[in-house]
């Protein structure tokens, strides 16, 4: 176990991805103590302030305090810096939980399709059908149907990912179920659910974790796209997509409203993808160097 951790840390893409993500998680958790104000508070005295300006910010309850507008304010007088930092929370939560939902559902369906041949044909044809619908359109339709809440957005982004996970897990299970140790477990009278959980799943974990990181990265992007299109989370919850969508109308005068959230979005997706690439190099035996 220790050697796996050492191998992971020896990989530069993993080190970089993990440290960037670590910083982002810290920013998200510590947002209230990093010189932010209520991200929903509007101060009509501070509309479209330039980035880096100092001033007084009046909160909703009437109190006012000295504040530095690191990234300026938008056309409602809301502090962009506070909104971007709180938006990190939404993006990371969406990324993490989308990956978890897609892996859980897709993993379960994939194991069923791979192990029980009778279920396979029906389940996989349904998955093929699902894959034929463009992911972003399907997500838009689902959010429109279920209403825009945090969990509906997560589910809507996760559903188009499920067929991909199902396919991956199914193909892994198809190879693993022929392995002698699985046959031996069958001969030892191990019940089928235990065979799946104890002998098959742990051996399929490495590619699943890798797939999970890629899903998380694309979920962060998709959430931003949905919000940008006005179909994501409601406007009162700050997300990177929301901030960019609202900044879009006055992009030429105040480009910061779009560029600052983008400055967070790009490294986040990059870091998760690099982490996934690195994990694949280390965990997937197909990519392991010979003799290493």
């Amino acid at each position: 176990m220790k050697s796996v951790v050492r191998k992971l840390l020896a990989h530069s893409a993993i080190r970089f991805g993990a440290s960037v993500l670590g910083v982002l998680i810290a920013l998200a958790l510590l947002a209230p103590w990093l010189g932010t104000v209520d991200p929903a508070a509007m101060d009509s005295a501070n509309i479209n302030t330039q980035a880096g300006a100092h001033g007084t910010f009046s909160l909703l309850d009437g109190t006012s305090l000295a504040h530095t507008f690191w990234m300026g304010t938008d056309n409602f007088g809301r502090d962009i810096y506070s909104r971007v930092l709180y938006g990190t929370r939404v993006s990371l939560v969406v990324g993490l939980f989308t990956a978890i939902v897609a892996l859980l559902v897709g993993g379960l369906l994939g194991m069923l399709a791979g192990y029980f041949r009778t279920l396979d044909a029906v389940l996989m044809r349904f998955m093929d059908g699902l894959m034929a619908i463009p992911a972003i359109l399907l997500a838009i339709a689902l959010v429109a149907a279920m209403g825009a809440k945090l969990w509906t957005v997560i589910v809507a982004i996760a559903i188009p990912e499920i067929p991909r996970v199902t396919r991956l897990v199914r193909s892994l299970v198809l190879t693993l179920r022929e392995e002698p140790f699985v046959e031996a477990a069958k001969a030892l009278a191990t019940p089928t659910p235990v065979i799946l959980l104890r002998h098959i799943l742990p051996n399929a974990m490495a590619p699943l974790i890798v797939q999970g990181t890629f899903i998380a990265a694309s979920a962060v992007l998709t959430e931003a796209i949905l919000s940008f299109l006005g179909l994501g989370l409601p406007a009162d919850i700050p997300t990177w997509g929301n901030i960019m969508a609202e900044g879009r109308v006055q992009f030429t005068q105040y480009p910061g409203n779009v560029l600052f959230p983008a400055l967070f979005l790009v490294p986040t997706v990059l870091a998760i993808n690099l982490l996934g690439d690195g994990l694949r190099d280390v965990l997937d035996p197909k990519f392991a160097k010979r003799g290493a």
Binding site: P180, F181, A184, K186, A187, L188, A189, N203
Partner: protein
């Protein structure tokens, strides 16, 4: 003394730091003259393949030769530039690999692959290259050379593929032919033909042959200088570990009812084409066997003979399409898995591949207690049993905490046996259980199986392609061919007077008997 084609002086190849020894090979010296064959024999990990790849200049980058000299017709190979080595490979030295399926490119026709070699090393026009290829295909006795030219590797049999590989190795009439376990992946009857082919080709063109193998029988077949007077202890051990073809004296025939029996067992696979029409393939037809307490029944046959299908039907890992199977008094051929499970402890199995028969993500202890706990033992009872079994298979008890990857192939096979015994079975089915192991390890595992049988009165069903192993272990032998049982009988009788033509061809093809060791001190 004639000119040496290949000579090696004091060659050492260092292993990367952290290996189990400093050098893969150390202080090797040998010479092969034109027209001679030198066999290099050793068990896995002995460094014989490292030596061969060093000669070819195909050594893994992590390894480097740090002493000695390799001379091919007087030219140093260790100092040769990569471009020069490329030129030498194919032209002056040819190589035949172990696994013909992976040695050939699956998306190129065989003709194109040989042609690529000729286009690289010669300036012959296309027509001449084609003529040469057809000629070499005839020399390696491939049927219908024209068709072979257009065939993809997967359309050929294992033996035909190996002939293609050999054709590529000899087409430019190299002075040195390196054969790295060229017959290990083949059936005995095919092995015999390939060995004869290599010997004939060598005689025709006077090449020197460096022949690498782990099989002493193959050595006896092909080598010029046979190890008649083994001096070193290790050589003696290797030779002594090779099982003989003569079965030991028959044991008393056990009485009592069969613990595992099959009658008229058949398995038909149905593939459907794109119109949904059924295309049945009969993998197994009307097979019968009965294993009683304390006896060992062998099933012998080449790959594709249906012996593994039969074994898997008997342990109900696949469902037979017809026939009856009895585990003790219970008929189980069509029993659903739920009702089968409580009976499964009666029949246990040990598989061929020790690397894949244990779950790599679970400790040995977890694997060993699984069966016992499935049959109602408590964790503590099962752990005590696991510790006891570890002693029986002669492994340290504290090894229960370790993972399978930390054991050698032979040790893992012991663990697989211990796992099977943990269920307290009545019958143990060993499906090629020693085929992937070195001869000396093979002998240990066979001894272990025999001990377990004597102690527990187990019935043993032993599936193998190796007639020698079957001779040593089995009381009765069943010979299978193309999904049918062609002959069966007590081992001594069957080996002395094989009746069926196929059985006789199997015995004819088995590698030559070892030369009697002379001058063997006690």
């Amino acid at each position: 003394m004639s000119e040496a084609i290949l000579s090696i002086h004091g060659l050492s190849v260092a292993l990367p730091a952290g290996g189990d020894r400093m050098h893969a090979v150390q202080g090797i010296s040998l010479r092969i003259a034109a027209g001679k064959t030198l066999c290099v024999v050793g068990e896995s990990g002995s460094g014989k393949s490292v030596m061969a790849t060093t000669v070819m200049g195909l050594l893994d980058k992590a390894l480097r030769p740090d002493a000695g000299e390799v001379l091919l017709q007087g030219e140093s190979l260790l100092k040769a530039a990569p471009a020069r080595l490329r030129e030498l490979r194919g032209r002056t030295m040819g190589m035949v690999f172990q696994e013909p399926m992976t040695a050939l490119n699956p998306v190129m026709t065989c003709g194109d692959q040989v042609d690529e070699l000729l286009a690289t090393h010669t300036d012959w026009p296309a027509a001449k290259r084609r003529a040469e290829i057809l000629q070499v295909f005839e020399r390696v006795r491939l049927p219908e050379p024209e068709r072979m030219l257009r065939s993809y590797p997967h359309q050929l049999s294992g033996g035909q593929r190996q002939r293609i590989v050999i054709a590529m190795a000899v087409i430019l009439k190299p002075a040195l032919l390196i054969c790295d376990e060229p017959t290990t992946a083949l059936d005995v009857t095919t092995q015999k033909e390939i060995l004869r082919l290599i010997a004939d080709l060598q005689r025709e063109q006077g090449s020197a042959v460096l022949f690498i193998t782990h099989d002493m029988g193959v050595v006896a077949e092909i080598a010029d200088e046979v190890l008649r007077r083994p001096r070193e202890t290790y050589t003696r051990q290797l030779l002594a570990a090779v099982p003989g073809m003569t079965p030991p004296a028959p044991r008393l025939e056990p009485a009592g009812a069969a613990l595992l029996a099959g009658q008229g067992v058949g398995k038909t696979y149905i593939a459907r084409d794109w119109l949904g029409r059924a295309r049945p393939t009969q993998a197994l037809r009307d097979a019968a066997v009965a294993v009683r307490a304390g006896e060992t029944v062998g099933i012998v046959g080449e790959s594709g003979s249906g012996k593994s299908t039969f074994a898997r039907c008997l342990i109900r890992l696949i469902d037979p399409t017809e026939g009856r199977i009895h585990w003790g008094a219970d008929e189980v051929a069509t029993l659903p898995e739920g009702r089968l499970r409580p009976l499964r402890h009666r029949v246990q199995v040990v598989f061929q591949d020790p690397n894949r028969s244990l779950n790599p993500r679970r400790t040995v202890g977890q694997s060993l207690v699984e069966g016992a706990m499935n049959f109602g033992q408590s964790q503590a009872e099962a752990e005590a049993l696991a510790a006891e079994l570890m002693q029986q298979v002669r492994l340290p008890v504290d090894a229960l905490q370790r993972y399978p990857s930390q054991f050698s192939g032979g040790q893992r096979q012991r663990l697989a046996i211990a796992r099977a015994l943990a269920c307290k079975p009545q019958v143990l089915v060993a499906d090629e259980a020693v085929s992937a192991l070195d001869v000396s390890v093979q002998a240990q595992i066979l001894k272990l199986l025999r001990e377990a049988q004597d102690r527990l009165g187990l019935g043993l069903l032993f599936i193998t392609h190796d007639l020698r192993v079957a001779a040593q272990l089995c009381d009765r032998v069943i010979v299978m061919h193309q999904g049918r049982i062609v002959e069966q009988g007590p081992t001594a009788e069957l080996y002395a007077r094989p009746q069926h033509a196929y059985t006789r061809s199997l015995f004819d093809a088995a590698p030559a008997a070892l030369p009697a060791m002379e001058d063997a001190p006690a």
